[in-house]
């Protein structure tokens, strides 16, 4: 073959056609921080694009196994990233439908002998063509009870993960330390999970930016003192027990909205402007129990 016959390979065009950049951009825009996670998602996207290109020129290109494990503390965005991952994999043509089926132990493990296999298989069938997200996956394996049916669910999962890897991608999610123990006690599973992605905790500035995004979406604004109060709130809340990162911030904002509505309601009769309806004041946040040293809401 002469050089002129070799078509220049256009990775850029493939990238544009796959609509992956829209998904990646949304990931960048809508998720604050999480630099290692974004890096990993980018790498996976790049790998799939290159594989696609390799296939187009007849090079050996076996679909890489893409089962993943997402580990991190609560509220660090594991489910959100999983949802994005499903649409990215769909854009790259790795999964056919791109839907996400989120399950926990209850959806996979049965109550009595012979109940587990059909239950697990049904969930797997529903997830085919998309992504199966198993939250708190370590509950599947309960070493303290040798008659637990979780092991059976794991075996069926393993079989499908191995034999039908074109049909679905499985993502295991949970807390870091427990997931490590879970994988250590199930070496068959660990060896079939190719990508281990760690979700770091958010810093105070990142949490503040997340609060900004959430408020934008709900069409609220913070007044100057409220922004200051929120920064102080985040610093205090981070040191308290049961801190669940972005989820705690979301709950705090929901309670601030409640107090704002109550404040407006109690001063009814006075003048009310649209700005007042959408502004959260400092007092709405400072009324939180965190400021007077009480046990916070989760």
């Amino acid at each position: 073959m002469s050089a002129s016959e070799i078509l220049p390979l256009d990775l850029d065009a493939l990238y544009r056609d796959s609509n992956v950049d829209a998904s990646l951009e949304a990931l960048e825009r809508e998720l604050i921080g999480l630099a290692p996670v974004k890096q990993r998602v980018r790498e996976i996207a790049a790998l799939l694009l290159v594989e696609k290109l390799r296939r187009s020129v007849g090079l050996q290109a076996e679909a890489p196994p893409l089962h993943m494990s997402f580990t991190g503390n609560p509220g660090t965005g594991k489910t959100t990233v999983a949802m994005r991952m499903a649409s990215i994999l769909h854009g790259l043509g790795y999964v056919r439908k791109g839907h996400l089926v989120a399950v926990t132990r209850d959806d996979l493990v049965g109550q009595y002998i012979g109940h587990t296999a059909p239950k697990t298989k049904e969930v797997l069938k529903r997830a085919m063509g998309g992504v199966l997200f198993i939250d708190e996956a370590y509950y599947l394996y309960r070493p303290e009870n040798e008659r637990d049916y979780g092991q059976e669910a794991i075996e069926i999962l393993l079989q499908v993960m191995e034999n039908q890897r074109d049909d679905l991608v499985v993502i295991f999610a949970g807390y870091q330390d427990r997931m490590e123990r879970f994988f250590a006690s199930n070496p068959g599973l660990a060896s079939r999970v190719a990508h281990h992605v760690e979700f770091p905790d958010y810093g105070a500035d990142e949490l503040f930016a997340i609060a900004g995004l959430m408020l934008d979406r709900m069409q609220y604004v913070l007044s100057e003192p409220a922004a200051k109060a929120l920064r102080e709130y985040i610093a205090l809340r981070k040191t308290r027990p049961n801190f669940a990162n972005a989820r705690s911030i979301r709950n705090a904002l929901d309670r601030a909205r409640l107090r704002q509505a109550n404040r407006l309601f109690e001063r009814r009769g006075g003048p009310l402007t649209p700005e007042m309806l959408s502004t959260i004041e400092g007092e709405d946040i400072r009324a939180s129990r965190v400021f007077n040293g009480e046990e916070p809401h989760p």
């Binding site: 063509g129 039908q164 679905l168």
Partner: protein, 144 residues
């Protein structure tokens, strides 16, 4: 004279065509899922046309997005019952009942027994006709 050469029964869709390949079955399943129909797999060893209630291989599959799961079940059923008739039925629930919208065979016995016509003498020289499935001549479990 043999009216049905090769003794292939013709029930459901596509039954006058050569057997569907897995790729073709997948396309049909895809169509059913696009319409939001639930797909069930049934099998029988008695293909009498009046035998409308075949055994179910598992429950009908609801809320599926992709045909891969159904094809897995079809293959599991074929493996368990290689010499039975296996059909796939798609049920439409939009009218409040699960009414069959599609139904086609996906597996046949290697040798199909077929049917014979049974004539019954009745009073007044009238004759009653019925068909009889050769497959049911043997007891259940020994057929095919």
């Amino acid at each position: 004279m043999m009216t049905n050469q090769g003794n292939r029964i013709t029930q459901g869709q596509f039954s006058f065509l050569p057997d569907l390949t897995d790729a073709q079955i997948t396309k049909q399943l895809e169509y059913a899922l696009q319409n939001g129909w639930a797909v069930g797999i049934e099998y029988t060893d008695d293909p009498h046309p009046r035998n409308t209630y075949w055994e179910m291989h598992g429950n009908p599959m609801f809320d599926l997005k992709d045909p891969a799961g159904i094809l897995t079940e079809i293959n599991a059923c074929r493996k368990t019952f290689p010499n039975h008739y296996v059909r796939v039925t798609a049920f439409d629930s939009t009218r409040g009942v699960e009414s069959p919208r599609m139904s086609y065979l996906v597996n046949r016995p290697a040798r199909e027994a077929g049917f014979n016509v049974v004539r019954e003498e009745r009073g007044g020289r009238s004759v009653g006709y019925t068909i009889h499935s050769y497959a049911t001549d043997k007891p259940e479990g020994e057929r095919n």
